[in-house]
């Protein structure tokens, strides 16, 4: 695990033997938040965690079906990164482990939960499910179930920003497993060649299903994966929301200044199984509980909020109560909301709304 409590960059990607081969990205600073900002980070991380816990329960009760990938443990990554975006302008895209990203983009919890239960009020009218959610008003472009597919799509969103000269950027999230997909490197090449405004974020939660990074990746320092395309990389402690937020500033400044893409490797961890059907045979309980106990991003933020005098224990409890109530309401809504009308089966296939035979 990357070192904590500092700027977040563990090592800089570059081959010093060849000066000038990569441009130097400034060393990220650990973000110094206001009390209000830090409390907002804390609240969002907690919302994601409680939401995912509830989703796990609803899955167990049969309200949610199919594949359902929980984000528990990784909350600091999306929380720190999204805070550096300009809502309504910058675009976001990720894979199937997307519930946290939707919440961080500001999609209401009840709309995400209702999508999970397959209801008409879901963010995709119940047609996408856990892995395929979209919210165009929030500039959230999915929710993609094919490992790695979101990477060129994200570069395309960046291409559109550049083409339209609107000053926006695209933030593309993908996993350590996805980082081995060929299309990722096809995309790196074009993104740097065309200086596209895109931040690539590898959420390295150490595992792709049951395969650890070391068992799948010849270069396991994933922040270096852009080197042969001259894409600078930073390795960041993804269990520290302020380290993430600090790196996000560097990355977004870099991209917005027209210098092309940047790659962030977020060292993080998922506590739960890959999906709801995980044999839990590929890692030890001790490994999971050690991360939970010593590196949990939410516990850490809670401690620091109190230490800094940004919140009292009671205030944190109040936030927790509020979040629990929000999630409970979302779950109630998602359980009771009606399923899509059967006529919806044949809508949204094409622009004309009805499928052609």
């Amino acid at each position: 695990m990357a070192r904590t409590g500092s700027a977040g960059r563990v090592r800089q990607a570059a081959t010093p033997a060849e000066p000038g081969r990569l441009d130097a990205v400034p060393e990220p600073e650990r973000y110094v938040p206001t009390a209000q900002e830090y409390r907002a980070f804390y609240r969002l991380m907690l919302l994601i965690r409680r939401f995912e816990e509830k989703a796990g329960q609803l899955y167990g009760m049969g309200f949610i079906g199919g594949f359902c990938h929980l984000y528990i443990g990784q909350e600091a990554v999306v929380t720190g990164l999204q805070a550096a975006l300009r809502p309504g302008l910058d675009s976001v895209v990720t894979g199937y482990r997307d519930h946290g990203h939707l919440l961080a983009c500001g999609v209401p919890a009840h709309a995400v939960m209702a999508e999970l239960t397959g209801r008409a009020a879901g963010v995709a009218k119940g047609k996408g499910g856990s892995m395929h959610m979209f919210s165009v008003p929030h500039r959230f472009y999915g929710g993609h179930g094919i490992v790695g597919a979101q990477v060129p799509i994200g570069a395309g969103l960046a291409f559109a920003h550049k083409y339209r000269e609107d000053g926006g950027l695209a933030l593309v999230y993908f996993g350590d497993g996805a980082a081995n997909q060929g299309q990722v490197y096809e995309t790196f090449n074009m993104a740097e060649l065309w200086k596209l405004p895109v931040v690539f974020v590898i959420e390295n939660n150490q595992y792709a299903m049951g395969t650890s990074v070391n068992r799948a990746s010849a270069e396991d320092q994933l922040y270096r994966r852009g080197e042969s395309f001259r894409i600078e990389g930073l390795q960041v402690d993804g269990m520290d929301v302020l380290a993430v937020r600090g790196a996000a500033t560097v990355a977004t400044d870099w991209v917005r200044s027209g210098r092309g893409p940047i790659l962030l490797e977020m060292k993080t961890y998922r506590y739960r199984g890959h999906s709801m059907s995980d044999p839990a045979k590929y890692r030890s309980r001790e490994e999971v509980s050690a991360v939970r106990e010593h590196q949990d991003p939410i516990d850490r933020a809670a401690r620091e909020l109190v230490e800094l005098g940004f919140a009292t224990e009671d205030e944190l409890k109040a936030i927790d109560r509020e979040v629990r109530a929000e999630v409970a309401a979302a779950a109630d809504f998602a359980e009771q909301a009606p399923e899509p009308d059967l006529a919806e089966l044949f809508t949204d296939v094409t622009a004309s709304g009805t499928p052609w035979t």
Binding site: S91, V93, G122, V123, A124, K125, G126, K127, G128, H132, M133, F134, S135, V136, Y141, G142, G143, H144, G145, I146, A149, V151, P152, I153, G154, A155, G156, L157, A158, F159, A160, H161, Y163, R164, A170, G182, Q183, E186, T187, N189, M190, L193, T347, D348, V349, T350, A351, G353, P355, W356, T357
Partner: protein, 437 residues
């Protein structure tokens, strides 16, 4: 010794003598460039095949439309002891121009008004250029679309008019640029993604199917993917199995996609313009062998509605249903049948998804017999789908079983005789029609 205009590409039928690099009386050595020849795809230097002296240049510079095989110069042998090898065709081994080099009789394009003669290639280019002028969001990307002017010259001239921002050369990275195009469409642009040939789009089919076709549905109608994937599809000439395949049935299978496969230049233009304006992802299947063919194209704004078949030739004894280059085969067969007093109607599907079932069934109701002609494999083909429509919805109109005439069910071979045997041809269509009459 005669120097003939050789076929410099598998599909070349005519060429332009752009420039002479030698003059009468010049000594030339074997391998020395003697002329610049422009083909439908490229400008190529023609080399002398043997040492000699230029006796006469028989064709002035700038001569266009020279059929392959035309004698363009005469070389005299040299007296240095090497008699020039007697060769019918110095230069690159020349092929006799294929039969299709003869001009095709013009067929009435849709709608009234003035027309002009244009190649399919030019019609496609004009469609893109017109739509790019009309809509800032439209751009073209693909391998060799800009500086090279298109691997098959379909994007010729676009770079000069629209610049590198809107005519984008990509690395050879089909999966990547198809996905990037989809993202650009999500981001509000209207990409035209050219595949050098559709064979290479197999590397990109994940994005065409999973990302482009399904997103409108998966997003509950929020997110459209207005993109055109286009390129030559089907068998070219002598390029063998990996470069010769018809993917129409693959794409026509997928809900969420529009699939178009035009035959003539007017439809190529009108349908490509409609495809670019469509809010759905479109797979637009062209055909290399048709690129150089000329047809009448209406002048001015010309749009053809997506999803409508077209009767190319009316008839009353049998309906020949086809699309793309298969229409050519069907029309030739119809000519042959006419000589035998059989009147065949030729229905060009033009759009394969949505399929114009009404047009198929209406024609069937007139002729009561149907043969489907497809330049492609028979199994799970577009032909199979058309037959299913006829059976499910037109059964009572049928006086005989529907037949399909397709390519042989084998990877396309290289050897000229085997290739000919594998590809669908008019005689097979004639035989199938006679079998059900």
């Amino acid at each position: 010794m005669d120097v003939r205009l050789p076929a410099l590409s598998p599909t070349m039928e005519v060429g332009t003598l752009a420039r002479w690099l030698v003059k009468p009386g010049d000594r030339v050595r074997s391998g020395q460039p003697i002329a610049e020849v422009e083909t439908d795809k490229a400008t190529i230097e023609l080399e002398a095949e043997a040492d000699g002296v230029v006796e006469a240049l028989l064709v002035p510079e700038g001569t266009e439309g020279l059929p392959v095989g035309t004698v363009i110069a005469r070389l005299a042998g040299v007296d240095d002891g090497f008699a020039p090898a007697p060769s019918a065709a110095p230069g690159v081994a020349a092929r006799a121009a294929p039969a299709t080099a003869q001009p095709v009789p013009p067929r009435a394009a849709e709608g009234p008004g003035p027309t002009r003669r244009q190649s399919v290639r030019e019609a496609l280019r004009d469609a893109m250029a017109e739509e790019m002028r009309r809509d800032e969001r439209v751009f073209v990307m693909g391998e060799e679309v800009a500086h090279y002017q298109g691997a098959y010259k379909v994007t010729q001239g676009l770079l000069a008019e629209f610049g590198e921002k809107r005519v984008v050369d990509t690395p050879i990275t089909e999966y990547g640029f198809a996905g990037l195009g989809v993202g650009a469409a999500f981001g509000g642009l209207r990409p035209i993604v050219e595949f050098m040939t559709m064979n290479f789009a197999m590397q990109a089919i994940d994005h065409i199917v999973n990302s482009a076709a399904k997103t409108r549905y998966m997003s509950g109608g929020q997110l459209a993917c207005p993109i055109v994937f286009r390129g030559p599809n089907g068998a070219a000439a002598r390029v063998a199995a990996q470069h010769s395949q018809n993917f129409a049935a693959w794409y026509a299978h997928v809900p969420g996609l529009v699939v178009i496969a035009p035959y003539d230049a007017a439809d190529a233009k009108g349908l490509l313009k409609a495809a670019i304006r469509s809010d759905d992802p479109v797979v637009f299947l062209e055909n290399e062998l048709l690129y150089g063919r000329t047809f009448e194209v209406p002048q001015g704004e010309h749009l053809v509605p997506i999803g409508r078949a077209r009767i190319h030739r009316p008839g009353h004894d049998v309906t020949l249903v086809s699309y793309s280059i298969g229409v050519d085969v069907a029309l030739e067969a119809a000519d042959a049948l006419a000589a035998d007093g059989i009147s065949a109607e030729v229905l060009d599907l033009r759009t394969l998804r949505p399929l114009d079932e009404a047009a198929i069934l209406e024609s069937l109701a007139r002729t009561h017999r149907m043969v489907v002609v497809e330049e492609g494999w028979p199994r799970c083909s577009v032909a199979a789908e058309v037959m299913a429509v006829a059976m499910e919805k037109g059964f009572d109109e049928l006086d005989a079983p529907v037949r399909r005439v397709t390519d042989a069910d084998v990877p396309l071979p290289y050897a000229a005789n085997l290739e000919r045997a594998a590809l669908v041809k008019p005689a097979d269509v004639v035989a199938a029609v006679k079998a059900i009459l």
